[in-house]
Symmetry: C2
Subunit: 353 residues, 2 copies
Amino acid sequence: MLIAEPKNKPLTLKSVSKVLGVSTATISNAFNRPDQLSAKLRDKILKQCQELGYHGPNLTARTLRKGESGVIGVLLSDSLAYYFTDPVANQFLTGIAEVLEKNHKQLLMLSCAESTKQTSGIETLPDGFIVYGTQDKNPLFERVLQTNKPIVTVDFDTDNYASINIDNQAAAKEVAMYALQHTQNANIAILGLRLIHSDRVCRITEDELYNEGESVSRRRLTGYMQAINEQDLNITSDYIWHIPHNTYEDATKAAREALSTHPQPNCVLCMSDVIAGAVLAIAREKNIQVPQELKVVGFDDIPEASRTSPALTTVCQKSIEKGRLAASKLVKGELTQKTILPTALIKRETVEF
Amino acid sequence: MLIAEPKNKPLTLKSVSKVLGVSTATISNAFNRPDQLSAKLRDKILKQCQELGYHGPNLTARTLRKGESGVIGVLLSDSLAYYFTDPVANQFLTGIAEVLEKNHKQLLMLSCAESTKQTSGIETLPDGFIVYGTQDKNPLFERVLQTNKPIVTVDFDTDNYASINIDNQAAAKEVAMYALQHTQNANIAILGLRLIHSDRVCRITEDELYNEGESVSRRRLTGYMQAINEQDLNITSDYIWHIPHNTYEDATKAAREALSTHPQPNCVLCMSDVIAGAVLAIAREKNIQVPQELKVVGFDDIPEASRTSPALTTVCQKSIEKGRLAASKLVKGELTQKTILPTALIKRETVEF
DNA sequence: ATGATAAAGTTAAATGATTAAGTTTTCTAG
DNA sequence: CTAGAAAACTTAATCATTTAACTTTATCAT
């Protein structure tokens, strides 16, 4: 039986090698390169390490030496807390987690929204990054770029990197067309997500309507507008809301405002299912019949969308698949291809019954 | 203007020091210990580093040297993907993320369920751990224990560590009492979570009913049983279901089975709101009126609980607060106290209207 | 001016691993 | 039995930092 070192000092390759009477290199090889030593010695070393309570090389030291940590960073444009709350993000992260776990990679969550003190140098740890959401000149993102490590971007696109997107504009146009075609004398409201840089729920101005950006939301808005035009309808900025965060609270506020206007809209285009869910709740509260008096469409097809009553008509984007694909591109090193995932219009009960 | 090193080699303290003509120590101090050099030189160094594109010391090397990474590990008993899907876990993680972000700590998600190959030594990286859920002799958990790093456990208890729990038994008893007191000729079913070690939805056997473990679910079960006894009612194991994962799919299967029994239960005690939500869906499908013909109670008070129709009567446990508290204990170094968070019975519409 | 003291920088020894290159041991064939 | 090759193991350089201990420069009262 081996005598362990005093409990307080953590075991190292060196201290263990001293106890076992072999070189540090041999123990390292026992853990990492079985072909470099005899099977007999290897078994003996592994067993003795077990007894001592040494469970293998320190990750930090190994990472420093090998330049490889086994950690994948997910870079998120908003605060971390938000990503645990948002159902779409949850699905996306679920997909990532699935693939990383299968490949024995660890998952480090990094938020760009962290306050100015970005001194930690955390970007040097992960072996690669999945970058989610638009990153307009974010400092952490800039640093990540400079590491020259593998990157896959999702829901936005930058030259030189693998990316995963959907055709937001076409999908939005399709769902809007469907909704408008089933609405007589359409009076349209749009509940948009992050259309402008404000932290408050509000309507947008005429100016802001034409300030075309490249965000996911702006592309959806463009899709809606195309549908409205093709149907020879129109909408003013008075009927377009900006919702800063994809939460029930914000969405409820906007929904309540939107359904209190005169004339009251009979067709609400929502940029997320969370928003659409809030509209349904307010409609019930106000005794407005959906879909008879009011058509509602969402976006995303989150799990809850099929459980609302009436069940939500929406655009399905395979968010889990997005995550899976992002992670697998990264672990497989497929770092150039730009993928557009398909979407599908899901007809449930909030447009026609 | 400074000339940067060739692009391919990443910048280091050493390479930068060569360019700037000062020692590595001074640059290190410029970043970490402003008092160790003149403000003038420091400003100059920082500006020059900026120009060169050196954004501060490499985290891995710094961690190795200082023994401190700024990373907090969250050790999860199930697969990672599960924790992004489960609404209770989402809230818990939201709370953690909030506090860590405020304290400039990074969040590393670690799953115990990872297949046998646990060679990575990842437990050496984080500065501390939040351990969530029962860990019956899990190898990764054992290693974490051996690191002697700060640990806070949540939803289970081990000697020597700070822990956060709720009184599952009392809370379950309370909600069950309430439900039973409002049910005439009660015919009870229990939809339990992870009562036994099976991956399939099934009823439990008489034996398994009395196999008392120490899990959260078992304590809730005990609470239910106490209420049933105190009301001079009874239940057989035929009316107790085991649901392996807290998902709608599993729960729906169990709910469908439970509402197809003869005699049909008129009071269902659910160990989670997800399960209760599934029961409501099946009840609607079968045209069973809730609460008139069927009382349903859940557990957790997830956000969706207030949005179901009818709105769910349940036990509120402040899951976000749990996460916040766990993280703040860890960052503040309060590593001994064992906290029992309060719960509250939330009376909505699924027991009385 | 001068010696003492404080401030500003530098040197060099850790930190815990990996791995190329070198050394010793074992094996094989003639 | 021995040279040569292969296998088994060790040595020592390296990874990018931090920081105690040391050296140099500046400050200041006398």
